[in-house]
Symmetry: C2
Subunit: 359 residues, 2 copies
């Protein structure tokens, strides 16, 4: 995979200008949704005036991450006279960066694009790494490509427009990265939490530094395994069960954010790590007491849901032949792939999890 340039700046429009100027192009396009148009465009009026990109605006929401929107973007690019040397900026959350990245990857077999995430989750999770795609009949990212953005912009400026649960959703992915990659960063999070200093909106909280850590760490892992043949799977820590929680609650029309689901999935993975690998149980209690309970709500689930949760894991597209793959931790910073995890152990871990969170 080609290297991605990461521009970190508190000033979104300066970063956008820098990214656009360093990418030779003929025409410039800007993809966003109408929420971003309303909330974020006012932050970048100088940029818009100066570069005057051709704007493509989609309705907001995951339900528009589909082939119809994709076709609209392609037609807008063609109508706007896009050539192989045109440049697309994806300004928005994960729906916009995923869909826009895929649109760019396939337009004339690939034009360059810049990801400018406007949510913490998209910044940590979606903007870097080259996974792009759209949903098909409700199946997430069923259609897509591996295509890295030429430049990714990391600016916390647009996050000021986000609701609280969107902030914690992104934070869960930062915690995940600390746990799989850095005992030092994870310790610093525990210390901050223990002193009641995790306030994602506070100027004293080093959110930019943590974001930078998580994104650069992800870029490093992805570079070693761009197509998820092996190492990259460790990024799924917390996601096996997290995805099942997310899907089940969406199905029951009680949706939670991706990060909330992952934050709970992490606890299940830690319990399972103790059961399967005899990993130190201390981290389970630290994570639960200092991170999960203070920052994330309980999920409206209980031990009667275990069979349904395991069933969803079995049918996850990442699992094949009915085998359930988990990322476990043999201590902080030491992820281990468990590609065929016994269902009895998963049941046991979920039992313990529900005992912990619902007591």
């Amino acid at each position: 995979m080609k290297d991605q340039t990461i521009i970190e700046s508190p000033d979104l429009q300066n970063a956008l200008a820098q990214a656009v100027e360093s990418t030779p192009h003929d025409r410039l396009f800007l993809l966003a949704d109408s929420n971003v148009e309303q909330c974020v465009f006012p932050l970048i009026t100088d940029f818009l005036d100066r570069f005057n990109p051709i704007r493509i605006i989609l309705p907001p929401g995951e339900e528009y991450k589909n082939l119809s929107s994709l076709s609209d973007v392609w037609e807008a690019l063609a109508d706007g006279g896009a050539s192989r040397k045109s440049l697309l900026i994806n300004l928005g959350g994960g729906v916009i960066t995923d869909l826009g990245g895929f649109a760019a990857a396939c337009f004339k077999r690939g034009i360059s694009f810049i990801n400018a995430p406007t949510t913490l989750l998209a910044a940590v999770d979606a903007a870097v790494g080259g996974k792009t795609g759209v949903d098909l009949n409700g199946l997430k990212n069923e259609i897509g490509a591996f295509a890295p953005a030429k430049t990714v912009i990391l600016s916390t400026q647009p996050f000021s427009t986000l609701p609280d649960n969107q902030m914690t959703s992104g934070f869960a992915e930062i915690v995940k990265m600390a746990m799989i990659a850095s005992p030092k960063v994870f310790s610093s999070l525990l210390v901050a939490a223990d002193h009641g200093r995790i306030d994602l909106r506070s100027k004293d909280f080093p959110l930019s530094d943590l974001l930078s850590f998580a994104v650069n760490e992800k870029a490093r892992i992805v570079k070693m395994d761009p197509h998820e043949d092996g190492l990259r799977k460790i990024l799924n820590f917390g996601h096996t069960c997290g995805h099942a929680f997310e899907t089940l609650l969406l199905r029951r029309q009680k949706p939670v954010t991706h990060g909330e689901a992952v934050a709970h999935g992490i606890l299940v993975a830690l319990i399972l790590s103790n059961l399967r690998l005899k990993a130190d149980s201390m981290v389970i209690y630290q994570y639960h007491r200092l991170i999960l309970r203070p920052l994330f709500s309980r999920l409206p689930l209980n031990c009667d849901d275990i069979d349904e949760i395991v069933d969803l894991m079995r049918h996850d597209k990442k699992n094949t032949d009915g085998k359930i793959s988990f990322i476990l931790l043999n201590g902080i910073g030491h992820p281990v792939v468990s590609s065929d995890t016994p269902e009895a152990d998963i049941h046991a871990a979920l039992d313990i999890y529900f005992d912990m969170v619902n007591s």
Copy 2:
């Protein structure tokens, strides 16, 4: 780009079985159009009975190489329970291999596919090399990806079902490859032509050998330059003007085959090579007398069309900034990229071309 396996066999269904058996997969899908279903399926009944692929049938024709058909294929894959480990066979002409390859390249971010071309043109031109795609609002291959088939099957067996003009269309691409890559093969073609022995349907004509030469040569070139950054451009020999002829005649509702247009485009490129590079003029007359005139019809165009032809070249997606790129020959086997060809020379070459073909 990953290596492509090429299986050459006179027996299509044995080759298909071999390709399928050497690619581990869970479910097997077969994409074809209704013409292929009618004409080629009867040749492979044993294969169909034995492997029982889930069949996806599209209506025939370039007008169905669009997003709507693509979406139908993706839904059929999803409905058929395709996973990341499923396998798609594209059995058909260039529309099927291009569209099916793109569908496979993006389904769950990429599943394996086998190209089994049923036309000579698709075998020479489309099946190998990884260019996949669909048209968008009449613009050819506007949406697509670079994605190589895992295996390409070369079998002349299904060509028996083709009309004559489809055979000569594919043959033009073989002649092109001989001219850019092999003085020896080109000489053998001239000798055969001089003795009236170019009969594409004759058992004595070495069509399989020529097909094998052209495809392996293309695979070699593509391997060195998978994304058409440089060397691969030489495959466009004859295509700058060929595409303009093809587009103009389609617009005038007098469509010609791709190969017919390219065969004429080659003559223009040879004349231009003489004007620009002082290349030996002998090859112009040999090509015209022995290949073009006996095997390909005249095009319904004349020197009054030159301005319109040049205009189409200027707007070809392969040309940028109004510069017209030509592949010229500094002798057989010595292609040269002329990335900014003076329009006066193109006019002059077209004038000479019309004098030659219409006299």
